[in-house]
Symmetry: C2
Subunit: 455 residues, 2 copies
């Protein structure tokens, strides 16, 4: 049976960043277009990136994590089907097969379809990974389960994986009063940074009482009458009340793949610059698709909220009859861990070399603002450029919360997007007032060091 | 007589931002080149922009305002002639006539000359402007005199002019415990912003107890046995222990003009993109020269520390035999006033119209970071673009200290430098983490409002 007779219009599957952006921008593009958003859970437009702050207590209520309320979304013209799971697409019949909250199945007709099914947490095949008390964190329900476990008295947490989520959770659970052990296979935390820079964040995490176990591989999780035990290399044998596995995500593509969509990088769905899949009138966006990186020839997988927003916008505009293109990502990311912020954009030296560039990296440390004004703190900058073309390839920044690290990386991201050489950084007319910067921003200081070393 | 026989090399006149940058970059370009810097006072490489923070007490000692110490400058290879006034240049003989600290005159030979004589405070021809207790603030000595006046018991200050220096001084002297009256001829403070945005800063200044008198013209300053009185339009009659005139600066060009240099905008010396004056082997940089603005066809006068640094660097590199060009300014500026930061880049609507553009401006207010994370504050954004070419012309931002306002304006400055359209802002891969931003930065929110309104 059909839910709504003969007003198909645009159907969006997925109620997170990509799906909601697609729906909202479709309405902005064509206010007359009926737009239905199919949301698997009860939480449309919630911030996945906000989950650690709910667990820390800084965001006291999970309801606050909604970017927009259901009423706001409905006022914007979106019809929401909450608690509906889209389990199949029939591209020839232009219908989506749904299961409603009661378990009944329906067909929903579409003229055009946008799929933003997102990603799910990777669960490595470890013995014991299915035990009660072992969690992943990618949904509101998972966060509420974790919160409940803490409320019920969990006091010892082991975090497996020290990426963005792992380090944010180390911060969050420490604030919440738990004893935290952070286990990472790589030699330093934050493996998306060079290890010596990641170690600056590692030191910050330790300074706040977290036990950090790097170069350590978890081999199994066991349970006894006292709780869980996490066992692994280098003598790892740590008791825990709860374990969180935070080793990354994989694209959630079953729906599109079973409908015939092709996949590429890391199993993500292949889309063109307009976010169109190879299937007629089916667009896709966000963590389920592969992403064009402006510095790479081959597509990559970059599951980020910012990218999901941009791609969802492009898909929504195009599905509503407009014209938009996704301009590509620079991989810009920022994370706050205790009192530090780490941010990066573009490629690191190793990544650049693997992509065929001739990378040269320089490292400088410069104050975030003039030392004569109170509170100046060091900004650690590593800047990578291509020896041949002199193009700016990437920047990594580590500095204090409050040192405008996250918007400093955006200067570099904007310069990379523009295709600038490193040399051009000194030409940028950046703002200066002694409480907030220096006449040469630390990124320009790094640029000048690079220019001086590559002649 | 000649100070140093037959080793002329490069002579730099001026020991502030432009002159010191010229000297340092000349040495970096050609380490063998003898470089002599003639400094009128005893304070080479001091931060003029830092003077308000010395007066506020936030920078406890004026000596801290030195970007670099004399030893550091000498270690970098600069010979400093402190307390030497250059009073004439003889371009045909390639000599600079100097007066030393004892009042004796010398000739200093040069092969190449860079002049960075800076600017001096404008003193309007008001009756009483020469009275004791009436100050301007552009040099270390002037700051020390002001500090002394406060130390000796001045408790009531009138500030004439509510630009960057006037508003910073309103903050500084309030912190120092003085009663402050801020008088501005224009309808709002911070006249380099649109009046309604300037008024946000005006409200902040008032909130801290400063009496703000806008649309008020000072007509004269009088003195009686109780101290000074500042009198003007709209019934202004305010007693004061000290008065600071902060109505802007004019270029200090006597030295170059008497040597034959041509002047342009606001009387500043005309230079080419390499900072060469029309005189053989004489470069000039900083507040004494006119500046290329990337959005204007005609040269402008933009006396800013950042610009002086860039121009000094270019002049120094070229004078040492290298090749550099000044890429132009966007007029990027930031100021912290109490707990607010105001920043701008590019052109405002009125400025853009005067320059022949077809400006359209939009105004949005967006949180600096996700509201679910504590401490989110509103960022007021006014964005101006050209209706025909859609080029981004300018951005004005007002927001809380701590809201990364100064580095947010740099995103816009970098985009203007790249010649981007407003539409491109949505493509920029800017960083996002809930404690520090939103998936669309406020500048992108403004860009989308503009794109939606200009179709």
């Amino acid at each position: 049976m059909s839910i709504d007779g003969d007003v198909p219009g645009l159907v969006v599957v997925g109620g997170s960043d990509a799906g909601i952006m697609a729906g909202l921008w479709a309405k902005l593009t064509n206010a007359e277009l009926p737009v239905t958003v199919v949301v698997r859970d009860a939480y449309p437009n919630f911030s996945i990136c906000g989950l650690p702050f709910y667990l820390s207590g800084e965001t006291p209520e999970w309801q606050m994590l909604a970017h927009r309320t259901v009423s706001q979304l409905e006022d914007a013209g979106l019809r929401l089907l909450l608690g509906h799971e889209a389990f199949a697409i029939d591209p020839s019949a232009r219908t989506v097969h749904l299961r409603d909250p009661e378990g009944d199945c329906h067909d929903l007709a579409y003229d055009r379809l946008v799929v933003g099914t997102g990603a799910r947490s990777i669960v490595p095949p470890l013995p014991g990974v299915g035990l009660p008390g072992v969690h992943v964190l990618h949904t509101i329900d998972q966060a509420r389960e974790l919160d409940l476990a803490i409320e019920r008295g969990a006091r010892r947490a082991v975090l497996i994986g020290a990426g963005y989520i792992g380090t944010e959770l180390a911060d969050a659970l420490t604030r919440r009063g738990l004893e935290v052990v952070l286990v990472e296979m790589a030699p330093a935390v934050l493996t998306t940074f060079d290890p010596d820079l990641g170690e600056l964040v590692g030191a910050e995490v330790r300074r706040h009482g977290v036990s950090v176990r790097t170069s350590t591989t978890v081999e199994r999780i066991a349970a006894d009458e006292k709780g869980l035990r996490v066992l692994g290399s280098r003598g790892l044998d740590t008791p825990a009340d709860l374990v969180i596995v935070a080793v990354g995500v994989r694209p959630e593509t079953d729906l599109l793949v079973s409908a015939g969509a092709a996949t590429g990088a890391r199993g993500a769905v292949i889309v063109d610059a307009g976010m169109l899949t190879g299937l007629d009138d089916i667009w896709a966006a966000g963590d389920c698709v592969q992403t064009h990186h402006v510095l790479l020839d081959s597509p990559s997988y970059l599951p980020l909220g910012t990218t999901a927003h941009k791609q969802g916008r492009v898909a929504g505009i195009n599905a509503a009859g407009g014209h938009a293109s996704f301009a590509g990502s620079c991989g810009t990311q920022a994370v706050k861990v205790f009192d530090l912020v780490a941010a990066r954009t573009g490629l690191r030296g190793g990544e650049a070399a693997a992509a065929g560039y001739q990378p040269v990296s320089v490292t400088v440390t410069a104050d975030d603002h003039k030392a004569f004004y109170p509170g100046a703190t060091p900004v650690h900058v590593r800047l990578t450029g291509d020896r041949t073309t002199r193009r700016l390839l990437g920047v990594q920044l580590i500095g204090a919360y409050g040192a405008e690290i996250s918007k400093r990386i955006d200067i570099a991201a904007t310069a990379i997007h523009a295709g600038h050489t490193v040399d051009v950084l000194s030409d940028l007319d950046l703002s200066y007032t002694p409480p907030l910067s220096s006449p040469w921003d630390p990124i320009q200081v790094a640029g000048q060091a690079w220019t001086g070393s590559v002649t």
